[in-house]
């Protein structure tokens, strides 16, 4: 029981204190962390028309002017951070009927055992003098913290913007903000704390507090943020303090600039540039090389002609023609790369069997010369895609498969097999040729899997497949080589 030295009769309990507080005509209010109401005396409850159970955990009553509440929260915050009592000479408080009364309020901190502010207690005495009230009404009309223009501005900004008060309560958000977070800052007028709603997605609470404390602005660059649907995105966030009409800092606004696409574009541009540099080096080599060889052949032919070695000249002439033919193939491949990069045709339903047979017809002569048997087994006969790109993909893969036949193999074959699974149509081009010798990624530019091609065919294949929203993989490098392409079965525009 209590110590009799403090003057309280030893036999009294908590109800005794409650009765004392309830007997007072002043409004007495205890608030806890984040300005949440913990307890109010009878005078306060009568003024608000609410029971303690109804008041508990609210920030303020529903009848209150939200802009007044911002000021209360701001004042609470000051008591919490300074640990000193605050004397508010006059503050407007709205009663249960919506009428505004004026009170002289003293807010005092209550400390826990560690000396940290744990609660605040506010005692408000009504101001009754008519002339004082008239003066206060006039002053309130002139300097009321009317936040409605700022709120209207925030809600209409076509960027994700959030306005918080000094305690990081979310006062207003733009539609773009609600869309970006897929979560409105306010539902049915309820005001929530930033930490509870958004901190997980965008951890800027510390920055908001910092700018409020020093009336400043910070720009947080390239913050990673996970969208509610799990996508990684990146934002530059500007956080700055806003002020009340009194000149005091009322809170902070956060403006989000989604830079995900910009960063992705930059990464794509960097990659494209890197590819271009590599392409430039290799293409200049691979274009120069046969040209220099052709010049060498001409020089040699000239010398042989001088010596009247006509048979040798004829041989050199044939070699020169073949070299220029191969150079022409390389130029075609480079043109194919340019084509693969430009926007394609519209996706349409394509008949896979017809497409594969067209590819086979195109390569029929080479296949006969190489004694390679072409066969297909089509199980998914229809796909909605860009037919021309798909044709080029299969065309390149089949041409490669034929070209890489194994001379030791008695029964040389190239099979195109396809099927569908989970919204994708897959194709496999299989051959029993020499296999892929290169250890490098054969889809990279200028990597020759085997043979003497330009090393661009599979690079073009991958470009087309990516454009079609699919993937291409080399699933077997061995003698039984398998290239697998997986494409969305329906790529019609949304």
């Amino acid at each position: 029981m209590s110590d009799s030295s403090n003057g309280i009769p030893a036999h009294q309990d908590a109800q005794w204190f409650v009765d004392v507080l309830d007997a007072m005509s002043d409004l007495v209010l205890v608030k806890g962390e984040r300005s949440r109401l913990l307890w109010a005396n009878r005078a306060f409850r009568d003024y608000y028309g609410m029971s303690n159970a109804e008041l508990r955990d609210l920030i303020d009553g529903p009848q209150s002017d939200p802009d007044d509440t911002v000021q209360y929260v701001k004042d609470d915050q000051r008591v919490y951070t300074t640990g000193q009592a605050l004397n508010v000479a006059a503050e407007p408080v709205t009663n249960r009927r919506g009428e505004v009364g004026y009170f002289h309020t003293v807010k005092t901190p209550l400390f826990d055992r560690q000396g940290v502010v744990a609660r605040t207690v506010g005692v408000s005495r009504v101001i009754e003098d008519a002339s004082t009230i008239a003066g206060l009404q006039e002053a309130r009309a002139a300097s009321k913290a009317d936040l409605s223009p700022l709120r209207a501005l925030v809600s209409n900004v076509p960027l994700p913007v959030l306005m918080c008060d000094a305690r990081l309560r979310c006062l207003e958000s733009s539609q773009a903000w609600d869309t970006w977070f897929q979560c409105p800052a306010r539902v049915d007028g309820a005001i929530e704390f930033y930490e509870d709603l958004f901190e997980k997605q965008l951890p800027i609470a510390a920055a908001l507090r910092e700018v409020i404390a020093r009336d400043g602005q910070v720009v947080l660059s390239a913050l990673a943020s996970q969208s509610p649907s799990g996508h990684q995105r990146v934002a530059d966030v500007t956080v700055r303090a806003w002020r009340l009409a009194s000149g005091e800092v009322g809170g902070a606004v956060a403006i989000v600039h989604d830079v995900t696409e910009r960063l992705q574009s930059e990464a794509r541009a960097l990659q494209a540039n890197e590819e271009l540099i590599q392409f430039n080096y290799r293409a200049s080599h691979d274009l120069r090389s046969p040209l220099r060889t052709a010049l060498g052949l001409l020089d040699l032919a000239g010398a042989e002609l001088d010596d009247n070695n006509l048979d040798e000249v004829r041989r050199l002439h044939r070699t020169l023609a073949a070299k220029l033919d191969s150079l022409s193939g390389l130029v075609e491949a480079i043109v194919d790369i340019a084509r693969a990069d430009v926007a394609g045709e519209e996706s349409k339903r394509a008949d896979v069997t017809t497409l594969v047979e067209e590819v086979f017809t195109k390569h029929a002569e080479e296949a006969v010369r190489a004694k390679v048997e072409l066969a297909h087994s089509i199980n998914a006969s229809s796909i909605v895609t860009e037919g021309r790109r798909l044709f080029q993909v299969l065309d390149n893969l089949v041409a490669n498969a034929i070209k890489n036949y194994d001379p030791q193999e008695a029964r040389r074959r190239v099979d195109v097999v396809n099927g569908n699974a989970n919204g994708t149509v897959w194709f496999e081009v299989r051959d029993n040729g020499r296999g892929v010798q290169s250890e490098r990624d054969v889809f990279d530019m200028f990597v020759r899997g085997s043979g003497d091609g330009a090393g661009l065919g599979l690079y073009v294949v991958r470009k087309h497949v990516r454009r079609l929203g699919g993937v291409v993989t080399l699933t077997s490098r061995a003698k039984d080589t398998v290239f697998r392409v997986e494409l969305p079965s329906d790529r019609s525009p949304p």
Partner: protein
């Protein structure tokens, strides 16, 4: 015993290999001309020569840069750490006009020259003057 003028041409392009071989043989000033189409085969050939009879091992190599498998620089890296290659001369013969390649090649002591393809009649004669046998006199 006098070493013979023996040249090894290394190039993955069969036509370039043929041109170089033919140009060098037209000069008539090399005792032996061997051609291989990869860096690996070049090292194998050198190894065999060194083990069998150092006097007939190649004295000069015409070496291409861009080749699948071991490229020209890979071959130079192997030669740099092999004492037996000390008396060898390498002439780069490439279609690369990229300055970086020339600078890189010049950093190898074994590299004596950097030629851009094609190997012309004239260039072959200059090579013969440096690395071949004495020209026959038209007496």
């Amino acid at each position: 015993m006098k070493r013979i003028a023996s040249v090894l041409v290394v190039d993955d392009d069969s036509t370039d290999l043929f041109i170089a071989e033919r140009m060098l043989s037209r000069s008539g000033r090399f005792d032996a001309i061997e051609a291989v189409n990869s860096g690996d085969k070049a090292l194998e050939y050198l190894e065999r020569g060194w083990q069998a009879d150092a006097t007939v091992a190649p004295t000069v190599i015409l070496l291409d840069i861009n080749m699948p498998g071991l490229d020209g620089f890979d071959v130079l890296d192997r030669l740099r750490v092999d004492n037996r290659a000390n008396e060898l001369s390498v002439v780069m013969l490439t279609s690369s006009a990229y300055g970086g390649d020339k600078n890189r090649a010049d950093a190898y002591a074994v590299v004596k020259d950097f030629l851009v393809k094609p190997l012309t009649v004239k260039a072959a004669e200059l090579l013969a003057d440096r690395f071949g046998t004495e020209p026959r006199t038209n007496a």
